[in-house]
């Protein structure tokens, strides 16, 4: 009975916690196709896992503005809002290298 009650409480709390975290995780998952699952690169493209958040935000902003030369990232980064870039950068900063 006590176990069942604990389960019920944890289950009820889960939806509140999930939303924002899932949104960041889902946005970051798009990057994995070229930068590896959770940003751990299989080679050839820059690993994003464990990169300091402010570094990734700065790089993506420089891609968007054209300040940083790119082959493709200037085109992809323009598809994301400031808030989304912030979410993605926070997600990768929290990943183990």
């Amino acid at each position: 009975m006590r176990i069942a009650l604990v389960c019920a409480v944890v289950l009820a709390a889960a939806p509140l916690l999930a939303g924002a975290q899932d949104a960041a995780r889902d946005l970051a998952a798009s990057c994995a196709m070229c930068h590896g699952t959770n940003g751990r690169s299989a080679g050839g493209n820059e690993p994003l896992a464990g990169m300091a958040k402010e570094d990734l935000v700065r790089k993506l902003n420089e891609f968007r503005s054209g300040a940083k030369p790119a082959t493709i990232m200037h085109q992809i980064s323009k598809g994301y809002s400031d808030q989304q870039i912030d979410q993605v950068a926070a997600y990768f900063a929290a990943q183990k290298k």
Binding site: I3, A4, V6, C7, V10, L11, A14, P15, A18, G19, D22, A23, R25, D26, L27, A29, S30, C31, A32, M33, C34, H35, G36, T37, S41, A42, G43, G44, N45, T71, I72, Q75, I76, S77, K78, G79, Y80, Q84
Partner: protein
């Protein structure tokens, strides 16, 4: 009968899950649900892996007929000679390490009312949610004489990487210098919009080195090159002058292996190698499962969850879907759609709302030679007004010019998407 894959048998395999179930928290931490994935290509394999990554309490059973993954992307380079079949084949062991139960079998039927799939050899498997990522099958009837000629090995599509890739490579190697390699392209939509033009480039690259008097003749049902047109045409003119001829509005309606000809609506065209890609539709199992919603060809989905618009509890991925506006049928898209699906499935099985606002990216690299690449990229986001994913305005684009740096990035994309999908 649930012969091999009843829930009880799966529980037996999983000591940890059984222990959690016994603790009384089965609905929270134990094996709370089973997802069956049909098809282990870019879509199915990615979905299987990501569901396990994002909720290890979910059982995932992947049913795939082949015992090894063979990539369509990069397979044109096998024809060009710079890569081998070994380079494009990958084991499913990586998925097994994530706890995916990979079953080599064929799904013969789906009973969506009972939530059961039937396997050719393995009996029935029940599911809580089903993901169908069937790829394509061909509408052979659209090209008269095709199926017999293909079975006799006289005409090939090589539009599914594998045995036909090897067979086409052999035909190319056996072709005489001065021969004509005919590549017939179906009307859009088809799998991999730039794929035919990359193939023409790779075949020309091989011929330039080995049989320089030969030609590639593209007979395209579409009026013009479907993707990255100016970049491909510039590459052809500069790298393979006089070797690649493009004819638009040239739909193949038949083949005649006796005369080695492709029949167009108004004329017959002779070739030494006939690489004719017929029109295609969602893979056969999508037809059997009642998932086809558009033109007897494609599967409509809700792009927020990838759930079928026809059959509840069944999600469809990849080339089989009725593509959203501006969305190509590509390995990249299948990989990305699979993550939207995985996120939604994990949420739904936990009683949570799926992510209401998905955003995904397409990147496609085409090798115009051994070393030079051109890309196309796009970002697609949910639009509530239009009820679909649409390309983000101002984002995406193509390469400024073909270049070797992107040759390196193109290969890096392949390495990373293989790891992300299977590793």
């Amino acid at each position: 009968m649930r012969k091999n894959f009843g829930r009880r048998d799966f529980l037996k395999l999983s000591g940890a899950a059984a222990a959690l179930a016994a603790s009384g928290c089965a609905t929270l931490g134990g094996t709370k649900a089973r997802v069956v994935v049909v098809g282990g290509g870019y879509g199915g394999a990615t979905a299987a892996k990501y569901i396990r990554l994002w909720d290890p309490s979910i059982e995932v059973v992947l049913v795939e007929r082949a015992n090894i993954f063979t990539s369509c992307p990069i397979s044109n380079l096998v024809l060009g000679g710079s890569k081998t079949m070994e380079d494009i084949r990958h084991s499913y062991d990586g998925l097994r390490r994530h706890g995916v139960q990979v079953v080599t079998d064929e799904v013969t039927a789906v009973d969506a009312a009972k939530k059961v799939v039937k396997l050719e050899h393995g009996g029935d498997v029940s599911y809580d949610r089903l993901i169908v990522s069937p790829g394509i099958d061909f509408m052979f009837g659209e090209v008269a004489g095709y199926e017999d000629a293909m079975k006799a090995g006289r005409v090939l599509h090589a539009w599914k990487a594998g045995a036909q890739t090897i067979a086409l490579q052999k035909q190319l190697a056996a072709m005489k210098d001065g021969g004509v390699f005919v590549l017939s392209v179906p009307l859009a939509p088809y799998r991999c919009p730039p794929g035919p033009y990359e193939r023409a480039s790779q075949v020309a690259s091989y011929l330039k080195k080995n049989k320089p008097r030969s030609k590639v003749l593209i007979l395209d049902a579409n009026p013009d090159v479907t993707s990255k047109g100016p970049l491909f045409k510039k590459a052809w003119a500069e790298l393979y002058p006089g070797m690649i001829e493009f004819r638009g509005n040239s739909k193949a309606v038949g083949v005649d292996p006796k005369t080695n000809t492709v029949k167009l609506e108004v004329e017959d065209v002779r070739g030494d190698v006939l690489n004719v890609v017929p029109p295609h539709r969602a893979g056969d199992i999508a037809v059997k499962a009642g998932l086809i919603t558009a033109n007897n060809r494609w599967c409509g989905v809700d792009w927020r969850t990838m759930e079928s618009t026809a059959v509840k509890g069944v999600h469809v991925l990849g080339d089989a879907t009725l593509s959203a506006p501006g969305m190509p049928k590509s390995g990249s898209m299948a990989n990305q759609q699979a993550k939207v699906c995985a996120s939604a499935v994990v949420a739904l099985l936990s009683g949570r709302q799926p992510n209401p606002d998905p955003k995904i990216v397409n990147t496609c690299y085409s090798f115009v030679s051994d070393s030079e690449v051109i890309h196309v990229a796009s970002v697609h986001q949910w639009d509530a007004g239009q009820n679909t994913l649409i390309p983000v305005k101002g984002a995406g684009g193509v390469s400024a010019a073909r270049n070797e740096l992107e040759g390196k990035y193109g290969w890096a994309w392949a390495q990373n998407i293989w790891q992300d999908t299977l590793g």
